[in-house]
Protein backbone atom coordinates (compact mmCIF):
# COMPACT_ATOMS: atom_id res chain seq x y z
CA UNK A 1 0.00 0.00 0.00
CA UNK A 2 2.80 2.39 0.95
CA UNK A 3 4.53 1.62 -2.34
CA UNK A 4 1.39 2.42 -4.33
CA UNK A 5 0.98 5.70 -2.47
CA UNK A 6 4.61 6.60 -3.20
CA UNK A 7 4.11 6.10 -6.93
CA UNK A 8 0.84 8.06 -6.86
CA UNK A 9 2.57 10.93 -5.07
CA UNK A 10 5.40 10.81 -7.63
CA UNK A 11 2.92 11.06 -10.52
CA UNK A 12 0.98 13.96 -8.99
CA UNK A 13 4.12 15.83 -7.96
CA UNK A 14 5.80 15.23 -11.33
CA UNK A 15 2.76 16.47 -13.22
CA UNK A 16 2.62 19.59 -11.06
CA UNK A 17 6.33 20.31 -11.52
CA UNK A 18 6.20 19.72 -15.28
CA UNK A 19 3.08 21.80 -15.81
CA UNK A 20 4.18 24.60 -13.48
CA UNK A 21 7.67 24.85 -14.97
CA UNK A 22 6.28 24.94 -18.52
CA UNK A 23 3.80 27.69 -17.70
CA UNK A 24 6.44 29.65 -15.77
CA UNK A 25 9.08 29.46 -18.50
CA UNK A 26 6.47 30.39 -21.10
CA UNK A 27 5.30 33.35 -19.02
CA UNK A 28 1.79 31.96 -18.73
CA UNK A 29 1.40 31.85 -14.97
CA UNK A 30 -1.20 34.34 -13.66
CA UNK A 31 0.40 37.64 -12.70
CA UNK A 32 3.46 37.21 -14.90
CA UNK A 33 4.14 39.65 -17.72
CA UNK A 34 7.15 38.17 -19.41
CA UNK A 35 6.74 39.99 -22.70
CA UNK A 36 10.28 41.28 -23.13
CA UNK A 37 11.53 37.98 -24.54
CA UNK A 38 13.22 36.79 -27.67
CA UNK A 39 16.51 36.25 -29.40
CA UNK A 40 16.94 39.83 -30.63
CA UNK A 41 17.95 42.60 -28.23
CA UNK A 42 18.58 46.11 -29.53
CA UNK A 43 19.38 48.50 -26.68
CA UNK A 44 16.94 46.75 -24.34
CA UNK A 45 14.15 46.37 -26.90
CA UNK A 46 13.49 42.64 -27.24
CA UNK A 47 11.99 40.72 -30.12
CA UNK A 48 11.77 37.20 -31.42
CA UNK A 49 11.84 37.11 -35.20
CA UNK A 50 10.36 33.60 -35.17
CA UNK A 51 7.02 35.03 -34.03
CA UNK A 52 4.15 33.84 -36.19
CA UNK A 53 6.17 31.11 -37.87
CA UNK A 54 6.36 27.37 -37.39
CA UNK A 55 10.02 27.81 -36.51
CA UNK A 56 9.19 29.44 -33.19
CA UNK A 57 10.33 27.30 -30.26
CA UNK A 58 7.57 26.01 -27.96
CA UNK A 59 8.27 28.62 -25.28
CA UNK A 60 8.02 31.47 -27.81
CA UNK A 61 4.90 29.98 -29.35
CA UNK A 62 3.21 29.75 -25.96
CA UNK A 63 4.24 33.31 -24.99
CA UNK A 64 3.10 34.77 -28.28
CA UNK A 65 -0.18 32.89 -28.17
CA UNK A 66 -0.83 34.48 -24.79
CA UNK A 67 0.67 37.96 -25.20
CA UNK A 68 0.63 38.58 -28.96
CA UNK A 69 -2.09 36.50 -30.53
CA UNK A 70 -2.49 37.08 -34.30
CA UNK A 71 0.97 38.64 -34.61
CA UNK A 72 2.39 38.68 -38.14
CA UNK A 73 5.47 36.80 -39.32
CA UNK A 74 8.68 38.82 -39.72
CA UNK A 75 8.42 39.28 -43.48
CA UNK A 76 5.44 41.55 -42.84
CA UNK A 77 6.07 42.99 -39.37
CA UNK A 78 8.40 42.70 -36.41
CA UNK A 79 7.53 43.58 -32.83
CA UNK A 80 9.92 44.84 -30.15
CA UNK A 81 8.88 45.20 -26.51
CA UNK A 82 10.50 47.02 -23.63
CA UNK A 83 9.38 47.30 -20.00
CA UNK A 84 12.27 49.32 -18.56
CA UNK A 85 13.61 52.82 -19.07
CA UNK A 86 17.13 53.63 -20.30
CA UNK A 87 18.47 53.14 -16.78
CA UNK A 88 16.88 49.70 -16.42
CA UNK A 89 14.06 50.71 -14.07
CA UNK A 90 10.59 49.24 -14.60
CA UNK A 91 8.16 51.51 -16.41
CA UNK A 92 5.39 52.83 -14.18
CA UNK A 93 2.42 55.14 -14.56
CA UNK A 94 3.67 56.92 -11.43
CA UNK A 95 6.49 58.39 -13.52
CA UNK A 96 6.83 60.67 -16.53
CA UNK A 97 9.08 59.69 -19.45
CA UNK A 98 10.42 61.23 -22.63
CA UNK A 99 10.23 58.81 -25.55
CA UNK A 100 12.39 59.96 -28.45
CA UNK A 101 13.74 58.64 -31.71
CA UNK A 102 14.14 59.17 -35.41
CA UNK A 103 13.47 57.39 -38.69
CA UNK A 104 12.95 53.62 -38.54
CA UNK A 105 13.98 50.96 -41.09
CA UNK A 106 10.41 50.06 -42.04
CA UNK A 107 7.52 51.24 -44.18
CA UNK A 108 5.48 52.20 -41.13
CA UNK A 109 6.06 52.06 -37.40
CA UNK A 110 4.26 52.76 -34.13
CA UNK A 111 4.92 52.65 -30.38
CA UNK A 112 1.96 51.62 -28.20
CA UNK A 113 1.58 51.40 -24.42
CA UNK A 114 0.12 48.24 -22.82
CA UNK A 115 -0.59 47.29 -19.22
CA UNK A 116 0.51 44.10 -17.47
CA UNK A 117 -2.39 42.17 -18.95
CA UNK A 118 -1.14 43.10 -22.45
CA UNK A 119 -4.20 45.31 -22.92
CA UNK A 120 -4.54 49.02 -23.60
CA UNK A 121 -4.85 50.80 -20.24
CA UNK A 122 -8.38 51.57 -19.13
CA UNK A 123 -8.61 55.28 -19.84
CA UNK A 124 -10.46 57.50 -22.29
CA UNK A 125 -7.59 59.83 -23.17
CA UNK A 126 -7.39 58.77 -26.84
CA UNK A 127 -3.60 59.00 -26.52
CA UNK A 128 -2.36 55.43 -26.67
CA UNK A 129 0.44 55.53 -29.22
CA UNK A 130 2.62 57.46 -31.60
CA UNK A 131 3.17 56.36 -35.19
CA UNK A 132 5.25 57.30 -38.22
CA UNK A 133 2.53 59.53 -39.62
CA UNK A 134 2.24 61.69 -36.52
CA UNK A 135 5.95 61.67 -35.74
CA UNK A 136 7.03 62.85 -39.19
CA UNK A 137 10.17 61.88 -41.04
CA UNK A 138 12.90 63.27 -38.78
CA UNK A 139 13.63 63.31 -35.06
CA UNK A 140 10.57 63.10 -32.81
CA UNK A 141 9.65 62.87 -29.16
CA UNK A 142 6.59 62.09 -27.07
CA UNK A 143 5.86 62.40 -23.38
CA UNK A 144 4.52 59.37 -21.53
CA UNK A 145 2.56 60.49 -18.48
CA UNK A 146 -0.66 59.86 -16.60
CA UNK A 147 -1.89 63.40 -17.33
CA UNK A 148 -1.56 65.50 -20.46
CA UNK A 149 1.52 67.77 -20.36
CA UNK A 150 0.85 71.42 -21.08
CA UNK A 151 3.55 71.98 -23.66
CA UNK A 152 4.09 68.90 -25.75
CA UNK A 153 2.94 67.92 -29.21
CA UNK A 154 2.74 64.17 -28.66
CA UNK A 155 1.40 62.57 -25.48
CA UNK A 156 1.02 58.88 -24.67
CA UNK A 157 -1.26 58.39 -21.69
CA UNK A 158 -0.22 55.92 -18.98
CA UNK A 159 -3.26 56.72 -16.83
CA UNK A 160 -4.53 53.55 -15.09
CA UNK A 161 -1.72 51.47 -16.63
CA UNK A 162 0.24 50.71 -13.44
CA UNK A 163 3.39 48.85 -14.48
CA UNK A 164 3.45 48.97 -18.27
CA UNK A 165 5.49 48.17 -21.35
CA UNK A 166 5.88 49.61 -24.82
CA UNK A 167 5.56 47.72 -28.10
CA UNK A 168 7.40 49.00 -31.16
CA UNK A 169 5.76 47.73 -34.37
CA UNK A 170 7.78 47.86 -37.58
CA UNK A 171 5.64 47.01 -40.59
CA UNK A 172 7.17 46.23 -43.98
CA UNK A 173 10.63 45.95 -42.40
CA UNK A 174 13.71 46.73 -44.47
CA UNK A 175 15.74 43.59 -45.30
CA UNK A 176 18.65 44.99 -43.27
CA UNK A 177 16.47 45.09 -40.17
CA UNK A 178 15.80 41.36 -40.48
CA UNK A 179 19.39 40.40 -41.26
CA UNK A 180 21.26 42.76 -38.90
CA UNK A 181 18.80 44.32 -36.46
CA UNK A 182 21.46 45.68 -34.11
CA UNK A 183 23.06 47.63 -36.97
CA UNK A 184 19.90 48.68 -38.79
CA UNK A 185 17.68 49.80 -35.92
CA UNK A 186 18.16 52.80 -33.66
CA UNK A 187 15.25 52.18 -31.28
CA UNK A 188 13.45 54.88 -29.29
CA UNK A 189 15.07 56.09 -26.07
CA UNK A 190 13.04 56.10 -22.84
CA UNK A 191 14.25 58.74 -20.42
CA UNK A 192 12.63 59.03 -16.99
CA UNK A 193 11.91 62.68 -16.20
CA UNK A 194 10.19 62.52 -12.82
CA UNK A 195 8.25 60.30 -10.45
CA UNK A 196 5.58 61.04 -7.90
CA UNK A 197 1.87 60.99 -7.31
CA UNK A 198 1.23 62.59 -10.69
CA UNK A 199 4.41 61.43 -12.39
Amino acid sequence: MQRVLAYLAAIVTGAAIGLGSALWLAGLLPGTNNVAFGNVDVDGWRSDFAIGSEAADPYTRARVAHHGLLALAKSEAVYFTRNTDDDGRSLSSACTYRLSGGAMPAGWWSVTLYDQASMLPANTDNALSIDAGRAGSGAWEAIIAAAAPADTKHWISSRNAGAFDLTLRLYMPDPALLSEPEAALVPPRIERLSCGEHG
Binding site: A16, S53, A65, L70, T112
Partner: protein
Protein backbone atom coordinates in the same frame (compact mmCIF):
# COMPACT_ATOMS: atom_id res chain seq x y z
CA UNK B 1 17.10 4.22 -0.32
CA UNK B 2 16.67 1.80 -3.19
CA UNK B 3 12.92 1.67 -2.75
CA UNK B 4 12.67 5.37 -3.64
CA UNK B 5 14.46 5.01 -6.97
CA UNK B 6 11.30 3.76 -8.70
CA UNK B 7 9.03 6.64 -7.57
CA UNK B 8 11.84 9.13 -8.24
CA UNK B 9 12.21 7.86 -11.79
CA UNK B 10 8.45 8.09 -12.29
CA UNK B 11 8.44 11.66 -10.92
CA UNK B 12 11.17 12.77 -13.34
CA UNK B 13 9.52 11.06 -16.30
CA UNK B 14 6.06 12.49 -15.52
CA UNK B 15 7.49 15.97 -14.94
CA UNK B 16 9.29 15.93 -18.29
CA UNK B 17 6.24 14.57 -20.10
CA UNK B 18 3.91 17.12 -18.50
CA UNK B 19 6.35 19.93 -19.35
CA UNK B 20 6.55 18.98 -23.03
CA UNK B 21 2.82 18.28 -23.30
CA UNK B 22 1.86 21.62 -21.72
CA UNK B 23 4.10 23.56 -24.12
CA UNK B 24 2.89 21.58 -27.11
CA UNK B 25 -0.78 22.02 -26.26
CA UNK B 26 -0.69 25.63 -25.02
CA UNK B 27 -0.92 27.46 -28.39
CA UNK B 28 -3.82 25.28 -29.55
CA UNK B 29 -5.67 25.66 -26.27
CA UNK B 30 -5.10 29.43 -26.22
CA UNK B 31 -6.17 29.77 -29.87
CA UNK B 32 -9.30 27.65 -29.24
CA UNK B 33 -10.20 29.87 -26.30
CA UNK B 34 -9.52 32.96 -28.41
CA UNK B 35 -11.77 31.65 -31.19
CA UNK B 36 -14.53 31.01 -28.66
CA UNK B 37 -14.04 34.49 -27.21
CA UNK B 38 -14.13 36.08 -30.66
CA UNK B 39 -17.33 34.17 -31.44
CA UNK B 40 -18.86 35.36 -28.17
CA UNK B 41 -17.94 38.94 -29.12
CA UNK B 42 -19.69 38.70 -32.46
CA UNK B 43 -16.87 37.69 -34.83
CA UNK B 44 -18.83 35.67 -37.36
CA UNK B 45 -18.00 32.37 -39.00
CA UNK B 46 -17.27 32.93 -42.71
CA UNK B 47 -17.95 36.64 -42.68
CA UNK B 48 -15.73 39.63 -41.94
CA UNK B 49 -16.76 41.67 -38.97
CA UNK B 50 -17.45 45.36 -39.30
CA UNK B 51 -14.98 46.39 -36.64
CA UNK B 52 -15.07 49.13 -34.06
CA UNK B 53 -11.98 51.27 -33.68
CA UNK B 54 -9.63 49.69 -31.12
CA UNK B 55 -9.89 51.50 -27.79
CA UNK B 56 -9.48 50.35 -24.18
CA UNK B 57 -13.24 49.91 -24.14
CA UNK B 58 -13.60 47.88 -27.36
CA UNK B 59 -10.38 45.80 -27.45
CA UNK B 60 -10.94 42.04 -27.65
CA UNK B 61 -7.47 40.68 -28.53
CA UNK B 62 -4.26 41.26 -26.57
CA UNK B 63 -1.89 43.92 -27.95
CA UNK B 64 -4.23 45.24 -30.60
CA UNK B 65 -3.01 48.47 -32.18
CA UNK B 66 -5.23 51.57 -31.92
CA UNK B 67 -3.69 52.72 -35.23
CA UNK B 68 -5.00 49.82 -37.28
CA UNK B 69 -8.35 48.70 -38.64
CA UNK B 70 -8.82 44.97 -37.98
CA UNK B 71 -11.51 42.91 -39.68
CA UNK B 72 -11.72 39.28 -38.57
CA UNK B 73 -13.31 36.21 -40.09
CA UNK B 74 -13.34 32.81 -38.41
CA UNK B 75 -13.27 29.81 -40.75
CA UNK B 76 -14.05 26.13 -40.47
CA UNK B 77 -12.94 23.84 -43.31
CA UNK B 78 -13.79 20.60 -41.51
CA UNK B 79 -15.73 19.51 -44.59
CA UNK B 80 -13.02 18.64 -47.16
CA UNK B 81 -15.33 19.55 -50.05
CA UNK B 82 -15.44 23.21 -49.07
CA UNK B 83 -13.28 26.29 -49.51
CA UNK B 84 -13.36 29.84 -48.24
CA UNK B 85 -13.47 32.56 -50.86
CA UNK B 86 -11.72 35.68 -49.54
CA UNK B 87 -11.66 39.17 -51.02
CA UNK B 88 -9.96 42.24 -49.57
CA UNK B 89 -11.12 45.51 -51.10
CA UNK B 90 -8.73 48.21 -52.24
CA UNK B 91 -7.18 50.66 -49.75
CA UNK B 92 -4.72 53.42 -50.73
CA UNK B 93 -2.49 52.95 -47.68
CA UNK B 94 -0.97 49.87 -46.05
CA UNK B 95 -3.24 46.84 -45.84
CA UNK B 96 -2.69 43.10 -45.55
CA UNK B 97 -4.64 39.88 -45.55
CA UNK B 98 -3.23 37.35 -43.09
CA UNK B 99 -4.15 33.77 -42.22
CA UNK B 100 -3.70 32.09 -38.83
CA UNK B 101 -4.19 28.38 -38.15
CA UNK B 102 -5.45 26.66 -35.01
CA UNK B 103 -1.92 26.64 -33.53
CA UNK B 104 -1.53 30.42 -33.96
CA UNK B 105 0.90 30.14 -36.91
CA UNK B 106 0.67 32.99 -39.43
CA UNK B 107 0.85 30.62 -42.40
CA UNK B 108 0.24 33.22 -45.12
CA UNK B 109 0.11 36.99 -45.54
CA UNK B 110 -0.67 38.96 -48.69
CA UNK B 111 0.13 42.65 -48.76
CA UNK B 112 -2.39 44.66 -50.77
CA UNK B 113 -1.56 48.35 -50.45
CA UNK B 114 -3.44 50.21 -53.18
CA UNK B 115 -5.12 47.17 -54.70
CA UNK B 116 -7.80 44.56 -54.10
CA UNK B 117 -6.87 40.93 -53.39
CA UNK B 118 -8.89 37.78 -54.01
CA UNK B 119 -7.79 34.30 -52.91
CA UNK B 120 -9.30 30.95 -51.99
CA UNK B 121 -8.48 29.06 -48.79
CA UNK B 122 -8.48 25.26 -49.13
CA UNK B 123 -8.84 22.54 -46.46
CA UNK B 124 -5.76 20.79 -44.98
CA UNK B 125 -4.19 18.24 -47.31
CA UNK B 126 -5.51 19.85 -50.50
CA UNK B 127 -3.30 19.94 -53.58
CA UNK B 128 -1.78 23.31 -54.36
CA UNK B 129 -3.77 25.41 -56.84
CA UNK B 130 -3.12 28.75 -58.46
CA UNK B 131 -4.88 31.54 -56.60
CA UNK B 132 -5.38 29.37 -53.53
CA UNK B 133 -3.74 28.80 -50.14
CA UNK B 134 -3.93 25.50 -48.25
CA UNK B 135 -4.75 25.85 -44.56
CA UNK B 136 -2.62 23.64 -42.26
CA UNK B 137 -5.60 23.12 -39.91
CA UNK B 138 -9.34 22.96 -40.45
CA UNK B 139 -10.10 25.96 -38.26
CA UNK B 140 -8.49 29.36 -37.97
CA UNK B 141 -8.82 33.08 -38.41
CA UNK B 142 -8.41 35.45 -41.37
CA UNK B 143 -7.45 39.01 -40.56
CA UNK B 144 -7.44 42.20 -42.61
CA UNK B 145 -5.29 45.04 -41.29
CA UNK B 146 -5.57 48.55 -42.67
CA UNK B 147 -3.51 51.50 -41.55
CA UNK B 148 -6.06 53.92 -40.05
CA UNK B 149 -4.51 55.93 -37.20
CA UNK B 150 -7.33 58.43 -36.67
CA UNK B 151 -11.12 58.47 -36.61
CA UNK B 152 -11.41 59.90 -40.12
CA UNK B 153 -9.16 57.26 -41.68
CA UNK B 154 -10.91 54.56 -39.69
CA UNK B 155 -14.28 55.68 -41.08
CA UNK B 156 -12.80 55.55 -44.60
CA UNK B 157 -11.38 52.07 -43.92
CA UNK B 158 -14.82 50.94 -42.78
CA UNK B 159 -16.28 52.15 -46.08
CA UNK B 160 -13.51 50.34 -48.01
CA UNK B 161 -14.28 47.20 -45.98
CA UNK B 162 -17.83 46.98 -47.29
CA UNK B 163 -16.58 44.98 -50.27
CA UNK B 164 -14.45 42.61 -48.16
CA UNK B 165 -15.70 39.05 -48.43
CA UNK B 166 -15.15 35.81 -46.52
CA UNK B 167 -17.53 33.12 -47.71
CA UNK B 168 -17.70 29.32 -47.41
CA UNK B 169 -18.33 27.57 -50.72
CA UNK B 170 -18.43 24.06 -52.12
CA UNK B 171 -15.30 23.57 -54.18
CA UNK B 172 -17.23 22.40 -57.25
CA UNK B 173 -20.16 24.77 -56.82
CA UNK B 174 -20.64 28.43 -56.06
CA UNK B 175 -23.55 28.23 -53.62
CA UNK B 176 -22.67 28.21 -49.93
CA UNK B 177 -23.34 25.00 -47.96
CA UNK B 178 -26.52 25.05 -45.89
CA UNK B 179 -26.11 26.88 -42.64
CA UNK B 180 -23.01 28.76 -43.70
CA UNK B 181 -23.03 32.51 -43.15
Amino acid sequence: MKRWLGPLGVLIFVAAAAHVAALHLAPGVIMARALDMLAARGVALHRFTTPERVTPQTQSVVRSSPDLYYALCRYDLSNPGTQVSVRMGSWPDYQSLSFFDARTDNFATIRGSGRAVAVRLLPPGSAAEEGAIVSPTAKGVILIRRLAPDAERFAAATTAGKVDRCRLEWRDRIAAPAGAA
